[in-house]
């Protein structure tokens, strides 16, 4: 009896200690048991004073990623099974978390369980398939026959998609994240969900071919976006990356933005950072460490002044850029888009041959300046500055022909500059969640046009690829653009092609009134080592219909400019 009583008294005192009372307070209430209680309570008080420890954020994230990968790997052969949680009777253990958990678990154990309600417009379980070119087929979950897909089809999670040898396609997930599929690629959207309407959860199984993945995060919320190949799982962490799957599942990962965590079947993990690549043939233990991606030989760079946004559509139909409502998209492999108060930059590494359509949309009523720059072996070899006057049009399209990207000084030029009319050239599916999360780019977010264009040095995304000469050329030519006078809509194309010590500047009147210049840069191979030669050609303004077709002129002098 005595022993039991002291145990009960001890229990009462422990409860009081836990509530914040002192040892002495308890002892005062049990003076006759002081001798027995005091050492026990002092020992207990010492334990209560041990500070609470917790896991590091890094461990939490890393462990979560590994757990999810493990679970999915374990679950795949039995995709239909469903676990049963124990009956729950949570009381005071982490009360707040328990309430949330209880709600979730009640949902899970309910008969005829249905998904948690989500806003009507957001369909986490669906994705959009945009066919950019060629033949694309789909295989719905449970089906056995592949079907020819249609453009912008809404498909359900579980559907497989494959592209033919000449096809390009883009999968747009419900949060706006995209996977661009190269020819000969086969994937399945294994998971697409919106956990508690807060956390985006996307898993893409990639069986073959190459994907370019652009993951859309917000300032506070990064989605769980993973690409599972036969050998590894690639977990994105604020990322743009390409994943190539070859024979026997061999996987090549190349990261352009952020970090990608690679986890193999043995749960070994490796992080691959920006501008790094990793090749996995069997598993991570056998794989070499990530290595730097070689600097691209060729690069197309577009810079736009702050009063607008732009996008570029490549010859395959993929697009990268911004829309006026703030939605960003990046479907072109190895491209980067960045927006800052200084303007917008798009960079495309190793551009392919063909015609690029650049779309420029104003966000405020102001003139815009678009700089098109080609960089080869870290040297700026070609630049055109287009002044796009607000008085003429708000939105523009510029067609740029890159006929030989491997030798971009040789044969590239602007084909046309026209006000944007009709259908937008981009294949961008604006998902409701992406629209909700986007911040419209208006006067509040865009600075007034300062008359200069953003250059590589002003972009928010760091790059080492912009040659110093390019910046110099830009600043040198930006002064030649016409001012916004009250008399004439002063659109102009200012073209600068820079080689070592040679600068060619051609200033043109409004693109809508006179055909734009088309310079043949092959003539700019002259190298001058100590002096700078500048040739400026100004063509008078003329009032003609806005349709722009190239004409040709042949300037004289040390450098010849051909206007087609």
């Amino acid at each position: 009896m005595m022993a039991e009583k002291i145990e009960i008294i001890l229990e009462k005192c422990l409860a009081r200690l836990k509530a914040g009372e002192k040892v002495e307070d308890c002892l005062r209430d049990f003076p006759d048991r002081r001798a027995e209680l005091e050492p026990l309570l002092l020992a207990a008080a010492g334990l209560y004073s041990i500070p609470e420890i917790s896991v590091s954020d890094d461990f939490r994230r890393e462990s979560y990623d590994r757990l999810m990968v493990h679970i999915r790997n374990e679950s795949q052969p039995e995709a239909s099974r469903r676990f049963r949680l124990p009956q729950l009777n949570f009381r005071v253990f982490v009360p707040a978390a328990m309430v949330a958990l209880l709600a979730l678990l009640l949902w899970l154990v309910s008969p005829g369980v249905i998904p948690a309600p989500v806003p009507a417009k957001i369909n986490p379980g669906q994705f959009s398939l945009s066919i950019l070119s060629g033949n694309v087929e789909t295989l719905a979950a449970g089906e056995t026959v592949w079907q020819t897909a249609e453009n912008t089809t809404e498909l359900n999670t579980g559907t497989q998609v494959r592209t033919s040898a000449d096809a390009h396609a883009v999968i747009t997930f419900f949060d706006g994240s995209t996977a661009t599929l190269d020819p000969g690629t086969e994937v399945a959207v294994a998971e697409s969900s919106y956990v508690n309407q807060q956390s985006v959860h996307i898993v893409l199984n990639q069986f073959s071919g190459e994907t370019w993945n652009n993951v859309i995060g917000t300032g506070t919320e990064q989605p769980y976006y993973a690409v599972q190949t036969p050998l590894v799982t690639l977990v994105a962490q604020g990322t743009s990356f390409s994943s190539q799957v070859g024979a026997a599942g061999a996987t090549n990962l190349a990261v352009s933005e952020g970090t990608v965590k690679v986890i193999d079947k043995q749960n070994t993990a490796v992080s691959v950072g920006k501008d790094q690549q990793l090749n996995i043939v069997t598993n991570l233990t056998a794989a070499a460490s990530p290595v730097d991606i070689p600097t691209p030989k060729n690069e197309l760079s577009l810079s736009l002044s702050p009063s607008g946004v732009s996008s570029v559509c490549d010859p395959n139909g993929a697009s990268t850029g911004y829309l006026q409502n703030g939605i960003s998209f990046n479907q072109i492999p190895n491209s980067i888009v960045a927006l800052s108060a200084n303007g917008q930059i798009i960079q495309i590494e190793q551009p392919v041959s063909g015609e690029y359509t650049i779309t420029v949309r104003s966000t405020v009523q102001a003139d815009m300046v678009l700089a098109i720059q080609l960089i080869q072996n870290n040297q700026s070899v070609y630049q055109q500055n287009l002044a796009l006057p607000a008085v003429t049009a708000n939105d523009w399209t510029v067609n740029l022909n890159l006929t030989n990207p491997a030798n971009i000084t040789a044969s590239n030029d602007i084909v046309s500059v026209e006000p944007l009319t009709g259908t937008s050239p981009e294949s961008v599916v604006q998902m409701p969640l992406a629209i909700q999360r986007a911040t419209a780019l208006t006067a509040a977010t865009a600075s007034p046009n300062t008359g200069t264009v953003a250059t590589g040095s002003t972009k928010t995304t760091p790059t080492t690829k912009t040659a110093p000469a390019a910046s110099a050329a830009t600043s040198a030519t930006s002064t030649t653009q016409p001012s916004s006078s009250n008399t004439v809509p002063p659109a102009a194309i200012t073209k600068t092609t820079t080689t070592t010590g040679t600068t060619i500047t051609t200033t043109k009147p409004p693109a809508v009134t006179v055909p734009p210049v088309a310079v043949t840069p092959t003539t700019i191979t002259t190298t001058t080592t100590t002096t700078t030669t500048t040739t400026t050609t100004t063509v008078p303004s003329a009032v003609t219909p806005p349709a722009v077709k190239p004409t040709t002129t042949t300037p004289s002098g040390p450098v010849s400019n051909s206007i087609k």
Partner: protein, 168 residues
Amino acid sequence: MAIEGDVEAFGVLYNTFLNQIFRYVFYQVNDRMKAEDITQEVFIKSWKSIQTCRGKEDTFAAWLYRIAHNHIVDTFRKNKQEISLELIDPVGDANTESEAEKSLEWQKAVAALKTLPEPQRQLIILKFLEGAENDEIGDIMGKRQGAIRALQMRALDNLRKKLRSGIE
């Protein structure tokens, strides 16, 4: 895709219980990295066996703690590893003299904890470091309330003696 909901749900469970399980493991193994490894294994193990969990325990937490406990016991058994008596500081470097003193006390308490018999150590960790109530502890340890109170008293008494004698 029924598994999809399960994965999401388990992710929520993981986030809810991660710290608790980590602490529980940490105070038993006295090594942060080892505790992290074991914690992760506990969740993987719990995922694997979640289908067989049919309400033997009153709470999910109790079930998870039981898995953690068994896993720790297995780990020690496999490695034939003695429990480390190395002093640790759960919160890192102390900035003041007072903090340093407190830190030393904590370290001693944690070190003494390691020397307790396994059920006593388990109870102390659950009750004083994890903040569990007696009925939950009873659920986890499979003991009645009276037994828990008696064990608690013995554990505190034992701990006091260890601390007084400088951990023998």
